[in-house]
């Protein structure tokens, strides 16, 4: 997480980085040069004035064909402080040997404990779960956030989640669901797609992906505000290198997360050790991305505190 840029994707420390950075800033002594965070945290850090705003075209390398960086990243630049690296998704995996003959095809299988009995795992936070609950309660996809903005809609989502509350194991670290799946403690569970990839392809467990209603999210860099000019220059140098088209494409050799640059997509090759084609495992592959969400950053920035309070109160009941 420090300047060498060890990539801890979806690590818990991302959430803690926000708090730590705020403490450092309060002390006026920021020791980090570059922080790897998820997009939602980048937005919060930007809001708190803890991350530096960046001119993407000036700082970042152009695509090989000369397209400026801001075009190449496109609307993945969700905050002026954020330099996206990868696109990942939160989606479901299920035990092929425990679900019976009928394989689940829709996210609503999670809520159908009659057809697919057994425990499920969901993340211990409202984000994503509320959306899935509403969809499976019959809300049209493009109305989900309108419904969720109302107290009745929130109530409705929690009520839907209530139907499976006794069957849910709540996770808070990305490694939990893969572990639970491998142990056979759950039949299906949500987690990051890259984690499922390693369970399926690297550990060869009887697990399959359920790409339906996967939620895209982004992971990338922010530069803390208030760096000295020398440090800033060094960081920018590194950023320019680390986020160019080839580097982003290379990341996909190790884990099935999509590169954030459009120009990187054709360069995605085979897995470094397994030698399998990575493209079909990307969340953005057309076969996988039939029904997708993009994490609604603005909505959750506003409603996070409110809905989280309700969600935690519901959990504690």
């Amino acid at each position: 997480m420090e300047k060498t840029g060890i990539k801890v994707i979806n690590d818990e420390s991302s959430a803690e980085a926000v708090a730590k950075l705020r403490a450092m800033d309060e002390a006026g002594n920021v020791t980090w040069d570059l922080v790897d965070v998820v997009a939602a945290d980048a937005i919060r850090l930007c809001d708190e004035g803890l991350a530096m705003e960046i001119d993407h075209d000036e700082v970042l390398a152009k695509a090989p064909d000369g397209t400026p960086a801001s075009k190449d990243f496109g609307d993945l630049i969700v905050s002026q402080c954020f330099i996206p690296q990868i696109v990942y998704s939160t989606t479901f995996g299920y035990r092929t040997d425990l679900v019976g003959d009928k394989k689940p095809t829709s996210v609503c299988a999670v809520f159908d404990t009659k057809t697919w009995p057994g425990k499920r795992s969901l993340e211990k936070r409202p984000i994503n779960n509320m959306e899935w609950a509403l969809i499976c309660d019959g809300v049209a996809k493009d109305e989900v956030y309108d419904v969720l903005a109302t107290p009745e809609g929130q109530e409705r989502a929690l009520k839907k989640l209530d139907t499976i509350k006794d069957d849910v194991i709540w996770w808070s670290a990305g490694a939990d669901t893969p572990q639970l799946l491998a142990d056979g403690e759950i039949v299906m569970g949500s987690t990051y797609n890259g984690r499922l990839f390693s369970v399926i392809e690297e550990q060869k467990q009887p697990v399959a992906m359920l790409w339906d209603a996967q939620v895209f999210d982004l992971d990338g860099w922010i530069v803390p505000a208030g760096l000295s000019p020398e440090r800033k220059a060094r960081v920018m140098d590194y950023l320019k290198f680390a986020t160019d088209t080839q580097r982003l494409a290379d990341q996909a050799k190790y884990i099935s997360y999509g590169p954030a640059r459009k120009s990187s997509a054709p360069l995605v090759g085979k897995h470094a050790d397994l030698g399998i084609d990575m493209a079909p495992h990307m969340p953005t592959d057309p076969n996988n991305a039939k029904n997708t969400f993009l994490y609604n950053y603005e909505f959750w920035a506003d409603y996070r505190d409110d809905i989280d309070a309700k969600f935690q109160a519901w959990l504690a009941k």
Partner: protein, 412 residues
């Protein structure tokens, strides 16, 4: 095997057969459960137990021989049933079975009881002792369980069939190897050893000085001062951690090495205060007066007379402070930053994020360390008693109580 130890058999044959039937019946029930026929197990156990107990007490001359034979018999039967595991279980059962039979047969079981105790009182007494042992077992089992699992050859937190069969392939040192080679664990270990000694040094030097001050005969506001100095021990860690996090980030100590050291020093101080003041209570003031009257200045008196005498207290306080820092996770989690990741922090992350038996390997090493510490402390305590001229026989009770309560005030 000396003959003088051989106790005569005093119980009636019915009692002996009954005890054998009871014990073997219990075991038969458990064994029967695993085979899904508990009733047959009980019946078989009772019959076999009664017969064996009767025969043993009748025809085998010594207890030792009887135990040896039953161990072999149990081991053989066990091996036939389920190889090595069975042999071990069988042997252990054989040994305890014979021990129990002879315990009853020789009247040993009434040793602690007054001779007039009724049978019900005897049973009550022994069930109480069994209950106590069950509680001790509760205390100790989790730690015992961790140790073999750390030698697991698989990346699981559970016993594999190979392990249960004592198959060497089921065991390996790879988690220890992981601990010794993995850079995360190594840097955590290094951080722990960079932080704990310095924090200990601070708490011991300041704490000893203050303890000497506190044990002067006239100290204004003694109670209030003591309450403040002890407070880091009583305060829930989450409150200390939150307060320190907020305050240290205001003054620029959050996420720094110095910040963590200061925080840990503060947490260790109560232990130094308590142990050193406890030593000073037994300290004979006439010794310093004598030194002074012989012309020693206060500093010489302190280092040549007082210090050697209270040293055991200082060292055990230091050990407490060291362990506090070495084992502390909540405060460092908040006050520290990635650069100060200590061993407990790494373990915490490990437990929450990836479940790897490397944690158990670390745990085993730490348990070994704490046994070492425990021995050191016990030796120090004895030395302290000797130095202070107390006859252990006379004041051991009070001393143990004292020291133990200071333990009880103990580690949060």
């Amino acid at each position: 095997m000396s003959k003088s130890k051989q106790k005569p058999i005093v119980a009636s044959q019915q009692q002996i057969a009954g005890s054998g039937a009871f014990f073997a019946g219990l075991f038969g029930f458990l064994f029967g459960m695993t085979q899904e026929m508990p009733l047959i197990g009980i019946a078989g156990g009772i019959v076999a137990g009664a017969i064996v107990a009767f025969l043993a007490s009748k025809y085998i001359p010594t207890k030792r021989l009887a135990q040896l034979m039953s161990v072999i018999l149990g081991g053989l039967l066990g091996y036939v049933q389920s190889q090595v595991t069975g042999a071990i279980v069988g042997a252990v059962f054989g040994w305890t079975f014979m021990w129990f039979v002879y315990w009853v047969a020789t009247g040993e079981y009434r040793r602690r009881l007054p001779s007039y105790a009724t049978p019900w009182q005897v049973i009550w007494h022994h069930s109480f002792v069994v209950l106590c042992w069950a509680i001790f077992l509760f205390l100790i089992t989790p730690i015992i369980v961790v140790m073999p699992l750390s030698f697991n050859a698989e990346n699981f937190f559970t016993f594999t069939p190979e392990m249960l069969n004592f198959d060497p392939a089921g065991y390996s040192l790879k988690h220890y190897q992981d601990f010794l080679t993995n850079s995360d664990w190594q840097s955590a270990l290094k951080n722990s050893f960079l932080i704990a000694p310095v924090a200990t040094l601070i708490s011991v030097s300041l704490g000893t000085l203050a303890a000497i001050g506190l044990s002067q005969p006239f100290v204004p506001f003694r109670r209030a001062i003591m309450a403040i100095l002890i407070s880091p021990m009583i305060m829930p860690l989450i409150i200390s951690a939150a307060g320190m996090y907020f305050f240290y980030s205001r003054v620029g100590l959050q996420g720094t090495y110095l910040g963590v050291v200061l925080a840990h020093a503060a947490l260790g101080i109560p232990f130094v205060i308590i142990t050193v003041t406890a030593t000073l209570i037994g300290f004979d003031r006439s010794l310093t007066r004598a030194a002074a009257s012989l012309g020693a200045n206060p500093i010489t008196t302190f280092f040549r007379v007082q210090m050697p005498l209270i040293l055991p207290g200082v060292v055990s306080g230091g050990l407490f402070a060291f362990i506090t820092s070495f084992d502390e996770v909540v405060v460092v989690l908040f006050v520290g930053s990635a650069g100060q990741k200590t061993l407990p922090w790494q373990m915490f992350t490990g437990l929450r994020e990836q479940i790897s038996p490397t944690i158990l390997a670390v745990a085993t090493i730490l348990v070994a360390l704490s046994i070492l510490m425990l021995t050191t402390l016990e030796l120090l305590r004895r030395r302290s008693e000797k130095l202070r001229g107390m006859t252990p026989a006379k004041s051991a009770v009070k001393q143990t109580a004292e020291w133990r309560m200071s333990v009880a005030g103990g580690k949060p």
